[in-house]
Symmetry: C2
Subunit: 344 residues, 2 copies
């Protein structure tokens, strides 16, 4: 059933039927109801392809996921974020177009999207300090929202968590517990959030006049093995750290493994605190855990961020000239069983 058939069956023009269904005012209410009823009865849905061509709108949002060639790493964060965003898109009638491209092909991918307007906007994830995607998208005139920030966070819209504050607070928490030998197991510091977290860590340490041990500050892709190896090396070197601050629950699990193998008790011999993106399957949530969360953590749901980012991005489409929207989310510091006073 297409519009033509429907309109013929109603004895109306395509114009009128189209307008009736799309809520334009030039059609009598009585007619509108009649049209809607007929459409429903005939199980009619406008052909999306035709509509896209006619309107020029893609009714789709692009997420470009760069596949870092060597590591072949899929960021587990993406999944939860996309799930959150996808929910909103679906609700608003937008499609989510996921594009996996090798890292060096991202620019071309965006240009392609802009050139034939196959998406109405794009979501930018995991920005680096000096991310080339921001100026590129500005040049292309494609609405976009950055989840996170770049080093120069002005003139575009973003949503980010207060990383400096979060890690300052987490560090303070460890310092208050008497820890002085604290290791930072950070993400790749080319990524802006990782740099900010390091800053937060350093600020807190400096404020107490504790100088961090350079050998205990690592920066890498946040895998379980990375956390494991880093912790192994530090713990085996003698006089190791008494506390670890990790950028994600994934390396934190590796740290726990390393400690466990050495017979160290978490929260007693060694403390671990991490940032928790609220990954559901990791279940580090207090509510659903009568035994309490495993890890003490700065928490901010990546899923919720995805939802909010989607909302903002869609609003950007309808209103492209509004001033940049910038939202900074605070994290919760949630107590778990992985931290305790520094051993004497």
């Amino acid at each position: 059933m297409n519009l033509k058939q429907l309109s013929e069956s109603l004895g109306l023009s395509q114009t009128t039927v189209s307008r009736a269904l799309n809520g334009y005012p030039e059609v009598r209410e009585e007619t509108r109801l009649r049209v809607q009823a007929a459409a429903e009865a005939a199980n009619y849905t406008p052909n999306a392809k035709a509509r896209r061509l006619a309107t020029g709108r893609a009714m789709a949002i692009g997420h470009v996921m760069p596949l870092t060639g060597k590591e072949e790493l899929v960021n587990p964060i993406f999944a939860d974020f996309i799930a959150g965003a996808g929910e909103i898109y679906a609700r608003e009638g937008y499609d989510l177009l996921l594009s996996m491209v090798p890292a060096e092909g991202t620019e071309a991918a965006y240009r392609q999207m802009a050139a034939n307007a196959s998406v109405d906007a794009v979501m930018v994830q995991a920005p680096t300090m000096d991310d080339p995607r921001v100026p590129l998208l500005q040049e292309l005139g494609l609405p976009f929202l950055v989840h996170g920030r770049t080093g120069a966070p002005d003139g575009y819209s973003w949503l980010d968590v207060a990383n400096i504050r979060a890690f300052r607070r987490a560090t303070d928490f460890l310092l208050d517990l008497g820890h002085r030998k604290i290791a930072l197991i950070n993400g790749q510091e080319t990524l802006d959030f990782a740099r900010r977290r390091r800053l937060g860590f350093e600020q807190a340490m400096a404020a107490r006049e504790v100088s961090p041990n350079a050998a205990w500050m690592r920066s890498d892709v946040m895998t379980e093995q990375y956390g494991y190896r880093a912790a192994c090396e530090m713990l085996d070197a003698g006089d190791g750290p008494t506390a670890f601050l990790a950028s994600s629950i994934i390396p934190a699990i590796g740290i726990r493994r390393a400690a466990g193998e050495r017979g160290l008790r978490i929260g007693r011999d060694v403390s671990i605190i991490c940032h928790d993106d609220g990954l559901s399957y990791m279940g580090n949530e207090g509510i659903s855990a009568p035994d309490g969360p495993a890890f003490t953590a700065t928490r901010s749901s990546i899923r919720a961020a995805g939802q909010r980012c989607a909302e903002i991005l869609l609003s950007l489409i309808d209103n492209p000239n509004q001033p940049a929207i910038q939202e900074l989310w605070d994290t919760d510091l949630s107590l778990g069983r992985s931290t305790g006073p520094a051993p004497a």
Copy 2:
């Protein structure tokens, strides 16, 4: 730049230019080269929206991800699978359309996709024993591929790992090590793969005339907390299992946590073996780990499965009447440090 402009600039008709670019034989080779050169120079790409309308092909593959309302759980497996599939789609010029819908809305989502042909095919993940999606998609005439199988795995195309065999082998491995008190921490047994794994476990046990303890066979959504709690309960009940067989690395991590908290050494006091989907960030791979994989595991890369599934699915589109393609992948049993002889 659109086709009309390009053809005018060349002094040719749109027909000829279109055919030249799409490799039809009715155009002289010399002309074709001229057209291609001009297209390249003008940075012309055909408008995807117009092409879709004209051809009726969507050049897109649908992945429908049901959001289980209560749990709000995002399956971490999906991410790696999609990454693999997306790679292939991109290479073949297909878009990946990701649709997040509440579980009860999946049927409507598929019907919608079929009704206006917004995708050329769909990928079905995590099938249940008696999955309604299979008959639905058959009715809709939408090409599809199932990753996994249903209880009646005939008449449609699928790719699956040999779950029974894998878990029989894993169980045998534990039995060979002298374990008799073995717990099965399975996924939800409404899912077909979980049922098969249980079967494999039971078969191996029966073959050695070891009767499994019903209290040690669990089935649930595979979170870390699930593994943790199950292990806690079993270990605290006195005379607990000496070995755990887990359906995924995620609950296995929870089991390890439970054991660790109780001062039990993994691979000595308690053995753990799990199925490993090769999630990159979990890094349970031997190659990249000089210290060896943490977990002994039956391994099969979910990413590679995604790639292969995509290839098969695309071939199904071009050739819809071919007999069903069914591929069964064997798993590797890779030795890690989480297993050892049963304690005396």
